[in-house]
């Protein structure tokens, strides 16, 4: 299967390269480092959320509340800014508090999914409504701009290390950390196991409820981190700013080769999925595609990409000779 998994990710890589080739042909700016850094930095939030979503999708669940969760944490951060003193300790403290707020909300999702056994899409549709509604009710949609941000946070947001924005490191840490969890820890393997076959996992003594709890809590945890990234990136807290982002996140994960029926998915695949969507967004203006046709192009590329990917997978399956037939 490993070979096949690779195959799946290779086909999306091929699509990215193809689009990249076209774009660098039509626009000289596309293949510049500056543009790439912009693309990546602009998708750190989606990337972090997609990484969390990968684990959930591997367990064959889905979480449509991620954008609402992230917004809720971001709003809390905006609120915290009025309390925290202007010091680097505040920034550190933020990295403690924000993930914990996210974690708690993720745990609620997780408890409802694992203990009460409500299908994840229903739970998260419900919490999406509840959280988004409460956020809107409390904030009235008013957003906080950077004049109210502590200088230390602005300094963090603008910090660059070796010429790379700090947010890119944040994404890298989340990606590598999650990859490690998935590949090298017991809980990570259990995530793959219950996605592969829940019944079997029960029989070998894996507590699948705990694992489900974990993936949703972890998603919440990452939403907390994503909220910091979002706040640092937009330098504002906008309660409406992430509306509808959950579908983009899910799209990135499934384009990256994760199977919504569970058991299959990888961090690098997901990052490729994020990259594909990001490049398409970026490319529209660079390629000077007419505004009114941009969605047609994007939609067509997605449909073609997933069809191509599926067809090449099927072909490779068919090619697998099952029996050594004598000539």
């Amino acid at each position: 299967m490993k070979a096949l998994l690779k195959q799946k990710e290779i086909s999306i890589l091929a699509i990215i390269l193809l689009i990249g080739a076209v774009l660098s042909f039509v626009s000289p700016v596309f293949l510049t480092i500056g543009n790439f850094l912009d693309i990546i930095e602009g998708n750190v939030v989606i990337g972090i959320l997609a990484i969390g979503m990968t684990l959930i999708i591997i367990t064959s669940d889905i979480d449509v509340s991620v954008a609402a969760l992230t917004t809720a944490v971001a709003v809390s951060i905006g609120y915290l800014f009025t309390f925290l003193p202007d010091s680097w300790i505040s920034v550190l403290l933020l990295f403690l508090i924000a993930p914990v707020i996210g974690l708690v909300m993720g745990l609620i999702n997780g408890l409802l999914v694992s203990i009460i056994e409500i299908p994840a899409i229903v739970v998260t549709l419900g919490t999406l409504n509840i959280i988004a509604g409460l956020v809107l009710y409390i904030t009235n949609g008013n957003y906080v701009n950077s004049t109210n941000f502590p200088q230390s946070f602005m300094a963090f947001a603008n910090y660059e290390l070796l010429g790379l924005p700090i947010l890119i490191y944040l994404l890298a840490v989340v990606a590598i950390g999650t990859w490690f969890i998935l590949k090298h820890t017991l809980i990570g393997r259990s995530v793959l196991a219950i996605g592969g076959n829940t019944q079997s996992s029960v029989r070998v003594g894996i507590d699948y409820k705990k694992v489900k709890l974990f993936v949703f809590a972890y998603m919440g945890f990452l939403a907390g981190i994503a909220a910091i990234a979002q706040t640092a990136y937009t330098k504002a807290v906008d309660p409406n700013g992430m509306l509808g982002l959950e579908l983009t996140v899910i799209a990135a994960v499934v384009l990256g080769g994760a199977n919504i029926h569970g058991g299959r998915g990888s961090i690098h695949g997901t990052l490729l999925g994020v990259l594909l969507l990001a490049i398409m967004q970026n490319g529209m203006i660079l390629a000077r595609i007419d505004t009114y046709w941009q969605n047609v192009v994007t939609g067509a590329i997605i449909v073609i990409a997933v069809s191509y990917d599926h067809l090449s997978y099927k072909r490779s399956q068919d090619k697998l000779a099952k029996i050594e037939v004598e000539a």
């Binding site: 999406l128 701009n145 004049t147």
Partner: protein, 336 residues
């Protein structure tokens, strides 16, 4: 024209707020058994309409009428119609609506009229035939042209490439302004070249920011950005600020002064053009009360708390006043 219409989102994320079409934020103010005036914004929960809400409520207290400020949570025409239908059920005296789509509220406004409810529009015009009164903050044509002039002024040259950002492709009033601005460029500044069709930003600052980054790369000679809809100028200015292009690229757009402050400060946003949405809310309620009491406003009439208004020849279109320019110098004077 509302400057912050949350519609026409166009990314793959689509339109995904579950249950988002819900309706009916309502705030009561004023006397117990006075007139019931319902003010329906395009949507609730965005800064612009929050500001007009406080104005409307204030007017309710000052004028002793019940103000019911309620709208959908998404700028969705059908959700807005449902809000109005529910208001008809509540039997209010006046409905003032800022339609998301003028045509789509037509049938329901007709129904309201049949029930003897006074119908008016504010912020964005509905069908002229239907409404008894139409309250506008500015003249659309004037507003669009004004922004165009301000941009040229900020650029300091009448030649060069500019780009136009919009909240969403399907926002009627934004489109009106953009058309007016384009007319202004065509007629008076032939040296200005608009590099692309208007670019949608999903009413999100972040999207405007990213698109502006892409624009700056794609069109290195870009001299100006005209950003229509409240979050768009902020995002555009943020991009300019981060790239350190304050002196090369001018940004002008419609935004609230408090939100604009950090960008006006260093010149990444040159001018924000808007009006006081609170005043607009106030005026709407004040005129609604007049309407219910059988009066009609007159040209040049002084409305307490608002100022002198203009009434057009048709006798029912009221213009609040000229647009206000918010700049580095005066932004701090405003609280909206």
């Amino acid at each position: 024209g509302c400057v912050a219409e949350n519609s026409g989102s166009s990314d793959s994320g689509g339109d995904a707020e579950a249950g988002g079409e819900s309706e009916g934020e309502s705030v009561q103010a004023g006397g117990e058994d006075g007139l019931d005036i319902a003010v329906v914004p395009k949507l609730v929960g965005i800064p612009y309409f929050n500001a007009s809400e406080s104005g409307a409520i204030e007017a309710g207290e000052d004028l002793e009428v019940n103000v019911n400020y309620t709208g959908p949570t998404q700028a969705d025409a059908s959700a807005q119609v449902k809000v109005i239908e529910d208001l008809i059920s509540k039997n209010v005296d006046v409905i003032a609506v800022a339609p998301n789509d003028p045509a789509s509220v037509e049938p329901v406004l007709k129904k309201a009229k049949e029930q003897g409810i006074h119908v008016m529009d504010w912020d964005t015009p509905a069908d002229k035939e239907l409404v008894d009164l139409s309250v506008k903050q500015v003249d659309d044509e004037e507003f669009g042209r004004h922004m165009a002039k301000k941009l040229v002024e900020a650029m300091g040259t009448e030649e060069g490439e500019i780009a136009i950002l919009t909240g969403g492709l399907s926002a009627a009033n934004l489109n009106l302004w953009i058309e007016a601005a384009q007319k202004e460029f065509d007629e008076n500044y032939p040296g200005i070249e608009i590099v692309s069709e208007k670019i949608p930003t999903e009413e999100k600052q972040q999207v405007a920011y990213q698109k502006t980054l892409d624009l700056l790369k794609s069109y290195p000679d870009l001299k100006g950005v005209l950003a229509v809809s409240t979050p768009a100028p902020l995002g555009a200015a943020q991009a300019v600020q981060e790239e350190g292009l304050q002196d090369e690229v001018s940004v002008v757009g419609s935004a609230l002064p408090t939100d604009s402050a950090p960008f006006l400060e260093d010149g990444s946003l040159d001018t924000a053009v808007l009006w006081d949405p609170g005043k607009l809310g106030y005026l709407t309620v004040a005129l609604g009360k007049m309407l219910a009491e059988g009066e009609m406003p007159e040209d040049g009439q002084e409305i307490e708390g608002v100022g002198e208004i203009t009434v057009k020849e048709d006798g029912k279109t009221v213009i609040m006043g000229p647009p206000a320019d918010f700049t580095k110098e005066n932004a701090a004077d405003f609280d909206f």
